[in-house]
Point group: C2
Chain length 80, copies 2
Amino acid sequence: MKAKVHVTLKQGVLDPQGKAVQHALAALGFTGVGDVRQGKFIELDIAEADPAKAKAQVEEMCRKLLANTVIENYAIDLEG
Amino acid sequence: MKAKVHVTLKQGVLDPQGKAVQHALAALGFTGVGDVRQGKFIELDIAEADPAKAKAQVEEMCRKLLANTVIENYAIDLEG
């Protein structure tokens, strides 16, 4: 089973990486670009075939390693 | 209009960051975790309201700044 995890900064947390991208886009001549936020996207191959168990396992991975839950949110999508 | 961009390494390109996550998960006791690939997830607010024009604009951003098309693929989703 494939798990896709999005880790994004929580609302209100400063995102210097996103701001750098925003300024770089403006410098390249792209107009009308508002807020830019950058996050992480992680794809995992999981041996667990049961969707409920797989989701619980990936949630634990997010809490323990993949996301810093003080400042980041995570979202999990399971496939196959 | 909101654009969501996924930038991922192409098949066959080594992903040391993903490998590090994979080993860290194993060290934490998570079993049955196969390949792990890490990419970037970028959310942009675009002033352009026409979906076709917005998509073309974001594609240009990907080619010029957001992705290194030699080793990375990008996927664009538009919302709103």
